[in-house]
Symmetry: C2
Subunit: 103 residues, 2 copies
């Protein structure tokens, strides 16, 4: 697991993926997670969120750029719909967002 | 006010701006507002939201495209920080999103 030192989400093969998933913790936790990835040498970090956490994902991006790393570039924002299977087997759709930041 | 028939937000001069502001009403209200603007002949509609309503703005975009107007194109998503002045004179920052859809 020597690879994990700089990159918590290294897939088994291919280019490392640097993703910060936004959940229900305080916004600053995710801000620091993104800043840490860049400080560890990552060239690109993707912020992902679903449902009500989408607003927090935008907060994270704005705070990272305005307060910590003003030279970062926004490389793209994409939204999508994902299908979830509920406990009773029915399906629901939830919106998702993906924000890519790069040096 | 003859101009208002097709366009609720015509500015005093220049190109008409077609903006749907997302608030706390049910999502479907805003979905129908966007669909109505396109059905009234608009070529482009902008969805704007701030703070916790950002998640709902993404829902509106996804539902409009997936369920009502699949041929629409996303012309751009931008996020920003806006400054609000509180009642006691202090200032807070709030994130905002702007999603432009076009025919």
């Amino acid at each position: 697991m020597a690879n994990e030192q700089n990159n918590q989400t290294t897939p088994a093969a291919g280019k490392p993926e640097n993703v910060v998933y936004i959940g229900k913790k305080p916004t600053i936790n995710y801000v620091l997670a993104v800043v840490t990835q860049f400080n560890n040498g990552m060239e690109e970090v993707t912020i992902k969120a679903r449902g009500n956490s989408i607003s927090r994902a935008v907060d994270v991006k704005e705070i990272v750029i305005n307060r910590y790393l003003p030279n970062l570039k926004e490389r793209g924002i994409r939204t999508s719909s994902e299908e979830l299977v509920n406990e009773d087997g029915t399906k629901s759709k939830v919106s998702a967002i993906q924000i890519v930041l790069g040096k």
